[in-house]
Amino acid sequence: MERISFVLASDTLEKLHAVALMASVAAVSQMEVNVFVTMNAITAFRKSAIEKKSFRVEGEVGRHLLEKSQQMFYDLLLQGKMMGSLKVYACGMALDLLGEDLDQYFPVFDEVLGVAGFLGKVAGGQVLFV
């Protein structure tokens, strides 16, 4: 099975959505997909941010995404997980810095992982940094 992995570091809605879209379509296209959510991107997955749809928007497309999108980035990831081989990992370092654990986050994460663990899972495949 082909493998593609994403390092999602940005908290802007446009980049969160682009990664979720590519990851979910890859997952339903018989690819093994890994998404490592790190740095500020992790904050967009807080339950409180999702409840209020409180996301950082960069520009025009992001504003339209908030107004019109039928599926937000977290929904797309859940769909990819249900319909294909998609794993989402939360960066342990980011969670440690924030002093938080996965209970405060939208239930899309498979596990908390460090960089070495993630590199082990993505070895031999393409990795995209967003």
């Binding site: 979910s24 379509v25 339903v28 296209s29 999108s69 319909m83």
Partner: protein, 82 residues
Amino acid sequence: MVEEAGMKIDEVVDGRGLFCPGPLMELIKTIQLKPVGTVLAVLSTDEGSAKDIPAWIQKVGQEYLKTEKKDGYWEVIVKKIK
């Protein structure tokens, strides 16, 4: 079942009004539940999906039959062969 230009359509997946990748996801949800041999027509107002769906069909080894531009939407026809 709908008959269209000699092609029997067993199932219509209406993805009109959905943004990419909505129509593709709707097709996947439906095709999983149907028996081998089913012919499905996916309707999409999203032009990207009209191109994505044939690419997905070929990638996963189903049979792509045709794409047709209708009045304000595209119709992509696929046969489940495995």
